[in-house]
Symmetry: C2
Subunit: 226 residues, 2 copies
């Protein structure tokens, strides 16, 4: 699926399994990829180091880290000092970061405008979305419309496109496709409470979904657990 002329894309990269796969997919589609990692004061800072390694190994043209201190507005187990849940519950989990994807896409849009990129990639998933409202196709479509109204480029008649290649894939399908594209999942971190060396707890929601994904895909789980 190589593109005829090289177009630029901004790829949101958390350092996790999903966004690493998205980067590999964007590269496979022929985009010149500029990765953006957002450091929002989360516990798992080892993800940022993983993002840097993944950007390099998966052929991104540039990698930037934007720091946003979300602790000032609070509201999530990922940034506050409350326990991360180890049981799957009903409804929206406490690990929900308020307006997170709105914020991530706003930063990606700003970066895209500066880079003259018209494509944004984000690894949202509506299958395993665990009740996060900002992972649904309707949200993505609304943000795509907003891009044209929000920017100088949009003002000049250009359209932005938000790509969500994982949105309807199961975790096992994501892992299978990423493995085929050469993603080394040992370099990715999904755990909500990874330690400083990037080792996973094995018991949080994110670890459980990831483990089950490797099992369902029939692929050996390379995750380093504590």
């Amino acid at each position: 699926m190589a593109k005829e002329s090289i177009e630029r894309a901004v790829v949101l990269l958390s350092g996790g399994l999903d966004s690493a796969t998205v980067l590999a997919m964007a590269r496979d589609q022929g985009f010149e990829c500029h990765t953006l990692s957002v450091d929002y004061g989360q516990r798992h800072r080892s993800e940022l180091e993983a993002s840097r390694r993944l950007s390099e190994s998966l052929g991104a043209r540039s990698h930037r880290v934007v720091s946003v201190d979300l602790r000032a507005i609070g509201g999530s187990a990922l940034t506050d000092d409350i326990d991360v849940p180890t049981e799957m519950g009903e409804g929206i989990p406490v690990t929900y970061v308020p307006a997170r994807n709105t914020l991530m896409l706003a930063l990606a849009l700003g970066h895209a405008e500066v880079q003259a990129a018209r494509h944004l990639f984000i690894g949202v998933n509506a299958v395993d979305y665990s009740g996060y409202p900002d992972c649904r196709p309707q949200f993505i479509a609304a943000f795509e419309d907003l891009c044209s109204l929000a920017t100088k480029a949009g003002d000049e008649g250009q359209r932005f496109e938000i790509h969500t290649p994982l949105i309807h894939l199961s975790k096992a399908e994501i892992i299978r496709q990423g493995t085929a594209l050469g993603v080394n999942y040992a370099d990715t971190i999904s755990c909500y409470q990874a330690d400083e060396q990037g080792r996973a707890c094995g018991v949080c929601d994110s670890c459980r979904l990831r483990k089950a994904g490797f099992e369902d895909a029939g692929i050996k789980d390379p995750t380093r657990y504590v």
Copy 2:
């Protein structure tokens, strides 16, 4: 215009003339106001100190500062090391911060969700908007729709309302209304390149619009110039 039951609002407060007026208007409408200032690595950090003073003097219930280091994605004279223009030019000025209001509203939305506020106030203005695409009513309406899709509260059927009380006012009208509501404009900073003591340059676009506003309003300009 006192409201029957007290509702919470998040008010975006830059420390400038416009947002200070918005805070006074929101309080006058009976809202319990929670101000949010965004420190995006801009040159005029004295604005943040002004925001704190204004939050106190204009009766906000809380004031938070969120830091976002936009310098990592560049693209603006406000955050990069290029000169601020002193002539009014055609089109979109280089002081444009990419996707700024999208980012500001995303942060305000996150804070509103945590504070159980359903009202956001932002001092955008379509009269003196100088070509910023994200100051137009269409942009605001699109973001308001996005709020319902982006949040847990929206998922539960609640609506967010974005208030833009300045959108159709001239600078002179803003100054007249704010003065009537007791805003002390000596405490506000509009200058793109204010010094560390908060004194204005008097020559940048923002200073010129502000000066002309006080003249048109027939109100003495209390700004401290260098």
